[in-house]
């Protein structure tokens, strides 16, 4: 009914509510434009700083994207916000530290150092993937037909368990680990680029490409997309839904594992509650891009990484970092609840 009146009134006169919406929308666009102009201004007046910061943003963005993918995939397939996902990432940081530093003592950028790093990457991926799959098998699968709150609380519980394990392995405080590259950097003209940025991107980009291929071109990917859209229908096509969901958890976990190793090697510090903060930011990335949408998660991750870096360098500074990120989240929720790339499909009855 209100729909009908709204359509009619467009041709006649705007209702007060519409005028209000228009003002709010207009203001937010103006705000966005001003911010964009300010950043552009900086790009022209301080190009060296701008690009240095930009590379830093890319590094964080890549890590957010990897973790965000795990959130968005699991949400896409069983509509669960896996609150323990960030903590899985944290465990991967600790495990990589243990492997690289405590057990194998590789802290120099030598060839064996990098080979060990690749080994640690694989171990972290397999481990995080297995733990996530195990959680699905023993906990979430049994709760699939339960009210939505049950798996959610289970995820929160798992988050605490992972954090406790983190305390056992990493201690209750911040712990610094030596890394292969430290903050060694090279110069690209006037722009300073950390080597760790290059490492993060050389691992992340192939992983993202492989993911895209897997989802869009393989049988397993087809099964995942079908299951995400309609579980029963997928079953009727002959998709093994249980296996597909388990695979999704494995994949999401593996990406979080990769992000964990990369974090440790590029930041060099971790704490048992790292997963909570980073998890929230990664989750925000997923929502920003449109939860359930894989490209959206990657886009959201990189956007937030870059915005964060630019903010810290040019706008409000370090202390406001979280505020900026969550303001973005709130704005997205208000103005485009489906996210940047999420499209509400019209499903006809």
């Amino acid at each position: 009914m209100s729909q009908a009146t709204a359509t009619v009134s467009v041709t006649a006169k705007r209702t007060p509510a519409e005028t209000r919406a228009l003002i709010i929308r207009g203001t937010s666009y103006v705000l966005l434009a001003v911010t964009a102009l300010w950043i552009l201004y900086k790009a022209f007046t301080q190009p060296a700083d701008f690009f240095t910061v930009g590379f830093l943003g890319l590094k964080f963005g890549a890590l957010y994207a990897l973790v965000a993918l795990g959130y968005t995939m699991v949400y896409g397939i069983i509509e669960l916000i896996n609150f323990s996902h960030g903590d899985l990432f944290m465990l991967a940081t600790v495990v990589s530290g243990l492997i690289m530093v405590s057990w194998l003592a590789r802290t120099d950028p030598t060839v064996t150092g990098f080979l060990v790093m690749i080994g640690a990457l694989l171990v972290a991926m397999v481990l995080a993937g297995s733990v996530n799959t195990l959680a699905e098998r023993v906990a979430y699968r049994r709760l699939r037909r339960a009210p939505k709150l049950a798996p959610l609380i289970t995820a929160v519980g798992l988050s605490f368990i992972y954090q406790s394990v983190g305390i056992q392995m990493n201690g209750s405080g911040q712990r610094n680990w030596s890394t292969l590259l430290g903050d060694r950097s090279f110069s690209l003209g006037p722009v300073k680029v950390q080597w760790s940025v290059i490492v993060v991107l050389t691992v992340t980009i192939p992983l993202l490409l492989a993911m895209t291929y897997l989802i869009n071109r393989t049988r397993q990917g087809k099964a995942m997309r079908a299951t995400a859209q309609d579980q029963d229908a997928a079953r009727l096509m002959g998709v093994d839904v249980d296996r597909t969901i388990a695979f999704t958890f494995a994949l999401g976990g593996a990406l979080a594992g990769a992000a964990g190793m990369l974090w440790l090697q590029s930041i060099g510090t971790t704490r048992y509650d790292l997963g909570f903060q980073l998890g929230l930011i990664a989750f925000t990335s997923a929502v920003l891009g449109g939860i359930g949408n894989l490209n959206g998660a990657v886009l959201g991750g990189f956007l937030i990484g870059i915005i964060q870096a630019l903010n810290e360098a040019f706008l409000l500074g370090n202390a406001w970092s979280q505020t900026v990120v969550f303001t973005i989240l709130i704005m997205v929720m208000v103005f485009k609840p489906e996210g940047l790339l999420g499209k509400p499909t019209t499903e006809k009855v």
């Binding site: 049988r219 029963d232 009727l236 006809k348 009855v349």
Partner: protein, 253 residues
Amino acid sequence: MSAQSSTSQTGEARGTGEILLKIDDLQVYYGAIAAVKGISLEVRQGEIVTLIGSNGAGKSTTLRTISGLIKPRQGSVTFAGKNVTTMSGHGIVEAGICHSPEGRRIFPRMTVDENLDMGAFLRNDKDGIAEDREHVLELFPRLRERIAQKAGTLSGGEQQMLAVARAMMGRPKLLLLDEPSMGLAPVLVDLIFDTIQTIRDQGTTILLVEQNALAALGIADYAYVLESGALKLQGSARRLAEDDEVTRAYLGG
């Protein structure tokens, strides 16, 4: 067996085709509520068998149980001589049962082509798949026009065609159709029912669930009438269409 004996038989002798699907004393519960209370039925090779009855009679539940989406509390489903009652859903598809479910359930964010492709998910014979794709597009030319369109944007009738076409892409021995005429314009209903007959004539056995009893009896060989989860009547479709009780209860006569 109890259900069988309490059912009044209106039929003359059944066709002599081989029994493809046999359901024996099937009981299905949703929690504590019995949706199907001991149904037994048969589908023979080459037949169109229809399951009619009012809303909530247990028709869709029966089909969902055959496909393995729900597990029965008691009773068995035998397909082509094999007990498929405890088989997984994909095992049942592999055995040759494809199901076009109630409410169409197409994949809305995939294109028409991708939906058809999903129908052939378990198959590996590329040539056969291409052949069947061509075949269903001939049956439903409208789908060819929409081939690259996201299935969620199709009209209701087109989605229904897609649901049937998708099920056929599995090259089933037995095709389960759940309410293929629901919500369609009369001209489309005729088209769908004509096509169902064509599909049967090309060699696929069909178990059809319908609320549109008149149309279903018009194309079926044999019919079962369900009422609150139990078999009420069975017989050749022609005889049931003339049966007073059926006419009064389901055909609005």
